[in-house]
Amino acid sequence: MSTADVVVIGAGLAGLTAAIRVAESGARVHVLAKGHAATHWGPGGIDVAGIPAASTPRDGIRRLAGEPGHPYAFLGDDVAAALEWIRPHLAAGGVEYLGDLDTPLGLVPTSIGGTRRAAILPAGQAAALAPWAVGERLIICGIRGFKDFWPEAIAASLARERIWEGGNRPTSVTAVSVVLPGLAPRHNLNALTIAGRFDDPAWRATAIEAIARAVGSVPGSGGRVALPAVLGIREHAAILAALQKRLPAAPFEMPLVPPSVPGIRLYTALRAAVIRAGGRVQIGEMIERVEHDGRRVTAVVSAAAVRTYTVRTGALVLATGGIAGGGLVAERDGRLLEPLLGLTVEAPPADDWLLVDAFDPAGHPLELAGIRTDAELRPVAADGASLFDNVRVAGSLLAGQRYVRDRCGDGVALTSGWRAARSLTAVPAGHAAEPGSERP
């Protein structure tokens, strides 16, 4: 048994953002989550609106806000504020983010030899974004024996004009491989193991020299070096600085398949911010039920050995994720459920969930599924009536967004988490468990 002013379910970008802001207001916040998910899977950037038509994130927000039912319709105006608010929190956790809503969306190369649109990136990836000068080279530097990064294949792919949509691109793309100390005979290295090695100052000094030698072996000068995203966790900033200093070309990280090191850095920084602000983060909590008294949630009950663990709460932020995160569960019979509160899920009929081609540009109708809310993020029924007074929904659980395809998931998560916290902490004092006033 425990007591909180606000319980946040879900420890992704939306949930942790909400928790930081609630905790900062002086309220007691507990984050309960089953495990880690989207943060550990994603590339660790803050994608706000990476749609092809948009020139900048701000332009993208405007376009998406115009689409029927998109959460940016009511969140769009707050994205800038939320972003500027989170930036120092992340920086305090050792991850600096560069770019803002007016940074032009550019193409950054990826670890399967493709490109993706981005504007707001962690410092470790940001060097990929600048326009390529005439004659500028790109060196893809792999690590011998690391099975999640194949420099030859990446280079071969990125050498093609069409991958860059026919636009600005490096003049040459070259692959090199570096043997890092002690890693060459190793097998089944994962990004995290290598990142752990980089955190060790002695090891990293040798490693950086080896990388410098490999990069130096490529004829020419200047340009940029793409490395797999394994450049440390705790000491990332120092590693990046050392590389920038030592290499003849500007280094940047390419995110990989999970486990995502940049994603873990983001998670670690967010979690640290919650704890610094006085909140709690408990992972491994299998929520059994959410208790409510009419329109007010009163407690969150999770499974424990033989008994349950109850957190009494004055309010709830539901940030359990979409289909990937497990916040929505698809039944065999074609129903889509929100299992914790049984909220109304807005979804197409099952026969229309998925189109035939995985990459159909129209987008699968199921991508839009989620929970519909009012502008205060309170969940609503099919008829638009609000269901709970002290519940806020945040993140990819929100209906109406194609969070992967339109690259808007991070922007929606950040802004809805931020807004959910504001909405809850701004409720006038009166109810014992609800915190008093909003802090600027």
Partner: protein
């Protein structure tokens, strides 16, 4: 393609039957060429549930077929042990199965020479705890499961050792007929587009459900009735034993453990075009409902994908049966060798249709007997006696072997490129060495890469990366294009298999993988918009 295209026989179709016919012809001294429009085993052979029949499923309705199955079952265990898992089979009487069938089952097995032993139900429940506790009787029969691709490879290897050959990605685009003879055949390389003309003395069509299309090239009519069979792949083996319902065979009444998964079969539905069909959610639901009679918890077990195969069903006209019986030997109704000399006046053309994978060798023997008779060859068939290449007598497949081998090396002496199916970098390198120019999809059939729960999410780009690295080494030009095809093609095919079963964890998995690829990896940028990939309505095979 070599200097001389002077082949005695051209075999069309690289499924199990074609490979068996190739091997038999080669062993009887006929220089033979097998052609396949895709990779080996991409048609019906690769799209079935993987059962090595004991014959038990046929004892009641077709004793001859049953007799043929058990005979071939015994032969295959001897000549191709590595391709077979000796799972054994149960025929179980659920409350839904009629008493008279169950009561007569043992006698019917005995009549067809099929080994059958009734065992205490308690023994069956101990061995397979997931079985329906309401099962009242259990018979044990020598069912097993077969790895079809390895079986084909072995047959082809044996044929090559006997001076014959097999070409993949060669489509038969036409045959020239001069009166009562086929005088030449034209092939097109599906990848380079180059065209080859060959002049065989004889043509054997082993094109299964596609036989009508081949025969039509020389104005011969073979009317096939392609029957679609849908199967579901479960993520884990809820049984180590093949389990059949003890009743007249029907939909959703068999579960076959194959490698790391278990496959629930099957349905029967006529389709017009063997290349175009769809699997619906309703079909999936109906299969699961039936399957729950065998394993009540089936509805809660994770499905990986649904797929379908097209049975080469053929109802022989009366005159065909008569013609086939001319030599005094009765041919089972299970398969039919069509002599187009007798039927259609094309003297050097034979089509083999019907049948099942278990009896592929026997089908080949019957076919080759006829071809040899026509070509005046008197060599006897030796395919039942000679063990296939790369097989060790008695060493049947064991599920634990990949884990065991990896563990014996301390769990880390090789990079696992496919973590679900334990496919290592050396395994992949070895396969690529032996199959130059193959596609990632061929690698999948050869190694099972990408066949586990993540359906290629974590391994396809690794395989593409390795292919890229190797290609760079030899200076190949289209490294990037082939990597694109690999990654996009694989993700598309896996997606198609998920579509009819989209629910629960497998949909979540699909969503996570698309998130990774469409997000941080930017997979869409690989799509070449000028030439959108043809999206056939066919789900890919998967076991």
């Amino acid at each position: 393609m070599g200097d001389s295209h002077a082949y005695d026989v051209l075999v069309v179709g690289g499924g199990a039957t074609g490979a068996g016919v190739l091997r038999d012809l080669a062993r009887r001294g006929l220089r033979t060429l097998l052609i396949e429009r895709d990779d080996f085993g991409t048609g019906t052979t690769g799209r079935y549930h993987g059962l090595l029949h004991s014959g038990g499923r046929y004892v009641a309705k077709d004793a001859l077929a049953a007799r043929e199955c058990i005979a071939e079952n015994r032969i295959l265990r001897r000549i191709a042990p590595a391709s077979i898992e000796d799972t054994g089979g149960y025929f179980v009487a659920t409350p839904d199965d009629p008493d008279d069938y169950v009561d007569g089952f043992q006698a019917a097995c005995a009549a067809a020479d099929v080994d059958c032993e009734e065992i205490p139900v308690a023994d069956a429940f101990r061995a397979e705890p997931a079985l329906n506790p309401r099962i009242r009787r259990v018979f044990r029969l020598p069912d097993g499961s077969v790895e079809p691709w390895q079986l084909i490879e072995s047959n082809v290897a044996d044929a090559r050792a006997h001076g014959s050959d097999a070409w993949t990605y060669q489509r038969l685009v036409g045959m020239e007929r001069d009166g009562g003879r086929i005088v030449s055949a034209t092939l097109r390389d599906e990848r380079s587009g180059s065209v080859t003309r060959i002049t065989p003395r004889f043509v054997v069509s082993c094109a299964g459900a596609w036989s009508g299309q081949i025969a039509a090239m020389v104005d011969v009519t073979v009317t096939m009735h392609p029957g679609k069979g849908t199967m579901l792949i479960f993520n884990q083996r809820m049984t180590d034993t093949v389990v059949n319902r003890c009743h007249k065979s029907s939909d959703g009444d068999i579960m076959v453990p194959v490698h790391t998964v278990a496959i629930l079969g099957t349905t029967e539905q006529r389709v017009e075009d063997p290349d175009r069909y769809e699997i619906t959610r309703d079909e999936v639901a109906a299969l699961i409902r039936e399957g729950e009679k065998l394993f009540p918890d089936l509805g809660r077990m994770r499905l990986l994908r649904a797929y379908a195969g097209v049975r080469p069903l053929y109802q022989p006209p009366a005159e065909v049966t008569a013609a086939a019986m001319k030599d005094g030997r009765q041919i089972s109704r299970a398969h039919t060798v069509i002599d187009h000399d007798a039927m259609d006046g094309v003297e050097n053309f034979v089509t083999i249709v019907g049948g099942k994978l278990t009896t592929f060798r026997r089908m080949a023997e019957d076919t080759v007997d006829l071809v040899c008779a026509k070509l005046g060859v008197t060599e006897p068939c030796t395919t039942a006696d000679a063990i296939l290449p790369n097989q060790v007598p008695g060493k049947t497949y064991w599920l634990g072997h990949r884990l065991a081998e990896h563990e014996a090396e301390g769990g880390g002496d090789a990079d696992l490129l496919c973590e679900c199916e334990f496919v290592t970098r050396p395994m992949l390198d070895d396969f690529l060495d032996r199959h130059p120019g193959c596609s990632i999809d061929d690698v999948r059939r050869g190694t099972r890469i990408g066949m586990g729960p993540c359906q290629g999410g974590f391994c396809t780009f690794r395989a593409a990366g390795l292919v890229g690295e190797r290609a760079r080494r030899v200076g190949a030009a289209d490294v990037a294009e082939s990597a694109d095809r690999a990654i996009l093609g694989f993700l598309r095919e896996r997606f198609k298999g998920t579509r009819p079963i989209a629910a629960g964890r497998q949909l979540q998995e699909q969503w996570m993988i698309s998130g990774v690829y469409e997000g941080g990896l930017g997979v869409r940028s690989l799509i070449e918009h000028e030439t959108p990939e043809a999206s056939r309505e066919v789900v890919d095979v998967h076991r």
